[in-house]
């Protein structure tokens, strides 16, 4: 790799090469824009002048030192984008945005409903300068409706969308996932909306449209079968999370402690179901099947009829005792050899060290020439045979591409740019 790779790395082979995306988004849309960039689109992150985007203040920070270019959140969500600065509170800034929108295909924004309209940068205004533009608005609850002005962060999205209710225990209540999943859902579902609008433009009249994405709805679409279970049985699926509840019926425990961590498995690891005999043999090989190694139990477990609670508890205890003394990865390997779909509980470190992902050459090393180091980033979320995904390099510095973008796309020369800078427009 050259000493100073270009930022972003070019990606002409991507399926979206040739499209341009303007990214005004916060946590609800930055990953969405990044994914489009990794498919080849030219993604331009638009930030306020000086301090840059507010999410540059999101922790954690590289070496725990907070600075505009050390936010790991910023690195993760904005890798491979170009950055320009533009003051939307000034008419001159809004004018630059309209001119950029005229040469862009997709605009992603996450402002509270009405904000873009106040600035004269909403879909009607932008489509007036570019009828083909697609405006993706990702908001907490959507553009209109009784909750449209409600404030939300990730946990509020998870709560109002129904996800948090599905987990947690009676004593301590519902519990969330530390890595923000309401934001993740809004981003990836927003990206689907953007892609459908892009495809629709191609097969229709070349016209763009407005894509109105709701984080609450994105979460509500990620509830397993809770919606249907209420609709059909009037039962609310819910925690405590150690088991699997399907269709309102609490299932057996799916999480077992091992010598070095935890493993997960459905159907009592295979001990109930048509292949129960295989699982019993596995436990019996080390003399740990207890009473299950008997004709009565073998028949009962293979019969596909629900177990009595005390029988289920006995099987759970037997399996728990078996797992407790063995390392998790070898348990999973042995289970998979027997056709049982077990998986280990991996921490982020173990995910990064996973031999499977290493064998698939998943991880990408990204050069941060500005601090003289390179770091491991996640690799392809999908592998397109002909038009591949590509990591596009590190996240941009504040306004790193002002000359490039304003010069190439809008034809502004150095003098004009300097004037705009002095008026604090860029």
């Amino acid at each position: 790799m050259p000493e100073s790779p270009p930022v972003p790395l070019p990606h002409p082979a991507g399926p979206l090469a040739g499209y341009r995306v303007l990214d005004f988004a916060d946590e609800k849309g930055q990953l969405c824009a990044r994914l489009l960039g990794e498919l080849g689109a030219d993604v331009i992150k638009v930030e306020p002048p000086r301090d840059g985007d507010p999410t540059r203040q999101n922790g954690p920070f590289f070496r725990d030192e907070a600075a505009p270019n050390t936010s790991l959140y910023w690195w993760a969500m904005n890798a491979g984008k170009r950055s320009i600065t533009c003051q939307l509170r000034l008419e001159a800034g809004r004018d630059l945005v309209r001119r950029l929108a005229a040469v862009s295909d997709i605009v992603i924004e996450t402002g509270m409903p009405g904000t873009a309209a106040e600035l004269g940068l909403d879909y009607p205004a932008l489509s007036a300068v570019n009828p083909g533009v697609i405006v993706v608005s990702i908001t907490n609850f959507g553009q209109a409706g009784p909750y449209k002005d409600m404030l939300a962060t990730d946990i509020v999205g998870s709560a109002m969308g129904g996800h948090m209710y599905l987990n947690g225990d009676d004593e301590r209540g519902p519990v969330r996932t530390l890595a923000p999943q309401a934001y993740a859902q809004a981003n990836v579902q927003g990206a689907v909306g953007a892609m459908i609008a892009l495809y629709a433009r191609g097969v229709n009249d070349g016209g763009g449209q407005h894509v109105d994405v709701s984080m609450q709805e994105a979460v509500a679409n990620a509830l397993d079968n809770a919606q249907q279970t209420w609709d059909i049985r009037h039962i609310n699926n819910r925690g405590p999370g150690t088991g699997r509840m399907v269709g309102g019926n609490p299932g057996p425990r799916y999480l077992y402690e091992t010598a070095d961590g935890w493993v997960t498995c459905l159907a009592l690891g295979g001990l109930i179901g048509p292949s129960a005999g295989v699982a019993i043999d596995w436990l019996a090989a080390t003399g740990e099947a207890r009473d299950l190694d008997s004709l009565a139990w073998r028949t009962k477990l293979a019969a596909l009829v629900p177990l009595e609670p005390k029988d289920r508890a006995y099987v759970e205890e037997t399996l728990a005792a078996f797992c407790k003394t063995k390392p998790k990865e070898s348990l999973v390997e042995q289970a998979q050899q027997r056709g049982f779909g077990w998986a280990p509980v991996f921490s982020p470190r173990e995910v990064v060290e996973s031999k499977h992902l290493k064998a698939r050459d998943f991880w990408v090393r990204v050069r941060h020439e500005d601090i003289g180091e390179s770091f491991i980033y996640p690799g392809p979320p999908f592998r397109l045979g002909l038009t591949p995904w590509a990591q596009r390099g590190r996240a941009p510095l504040v306004g790193e591409h002002n000359e490039q973008v304003y010069g190439e796309l809008l034809g502004l020369d150095a003098a004009e740019l300097r004037r705009l800078r002095m008026r604090m427009v860029v």
């Binding site: 909750y147 890595a179 629709a200 109105d212 990620a222 699926n237 999480l255 979320p381």
Partner: protein
Amino acid sequence: MSEGKVLKKPFAGIRVADFAWVGVGPTVSKYLADHGAEVIRIESSTYPEALRRVGPFVDDTPGMDNSGYYANFNSSKLGASVNLKHPRGPELVKRLLATCDVVTESFTPGTLERFGLGYETIRAIRPDVVMIAMPLYGQTGPWAGYSGYGHVLQAASGFNHLTGWEDGPPIGTGIAYTDFLVPHIAAVALIAALDHRRRTGQGQYIDFGQMEAAVHALGTAVLDWTANGHEQKRMGNRDPEAAPHGCYRCKDGRYLVIACFTEKHWEALKAALGRPEWCDMDRMRRRWQRLDEQKEIDRHLGYWIEDFTRMPPDSPFYTEEGVEAPPVRKFTTEEMMAHMQSFGVPCGIVQSAEDLQRDPQLAFRGHYWKLQHPVMGLRTYDGPSFRLSRTPAELTKAAPLLGEDNEYAWKTLAGLSDDEYTELLVEGAFE
């Protein structure tokens, strides 16, 4: 480009042969179906789709065509069935695939190949086909042959480790989480490939490993390890960046979440609480101080919220406000949320599936669709989370019965004559 002009649905004219099953695949093809594609689920009664065998079932009566779990992810689709183990099964499928633009599947790698239906074969029949294979772990690597479901993949891809109480086990999200995360990422790849095909005529193969897509939703957890050597771990409802950040019980037993990331949020919360003394203490002044005082803040907030919310009016414990003590304003949980929001505090109710059915915002947006199913009756389906202003989604029909559209698939599309079709039907080729 007049607004009034009737536009083509985005995927009108695209035909999809959908071999993908359980959660991930059907959600991907549902996007295409709800936006105009002709999606044909290809199933078999000899090896039925797992979700058809899992409830909730209408009237608690298990049946292939009676599962709400299956139905929700298969709106707007057609259903065909074929027994690939029948001597003519693979050939029939090939005849059908010749008419399809997209093939989706989510079997363990090698399954379709065993029936002579690998990508190379399909491409020979249909050179511009876009095919996406979506098993848990992708087509290669030591785990490629591993089986499982989203409920265990959430563990392997890091979500369990990040979910639960600080001092408790890695309980995970309570659901088969990755099944409801990765299909959206797969759909992005698939539609990007379709757009490339639209412009160039070229099809392609997509190797989609669910675990690899899921890793992209881990937020900062990967970089925190690779750049800082710090391992993030579950911490209940706390957040390393915000205080207070938690979940508080209301008198009616429901929960309210509150998250204060900025000084503005904190000032708003103080105002909403009526500026009690504790929150103006010196050690509450800065965000980093409040992060250390979470326990204290949670104790106060917990009391305050429980105190100021009330039981539902029909509760036996309900007492009219102000009867015994000096009048105290008591809120329903909804009113409490509105009160906090009116001051600018990000907060929300932990809503159940039941609450969502009554949620005024979801109702306003028309999130849920009611579709009539011949066996299950009028049922609720999820619509997409986005509204496209000019080519909106339309859920055209309820989920297909197993093999409901066999005559269309095998006679009209695959070109079987009436006699051939009947003969094969009797032989069990469509089971």
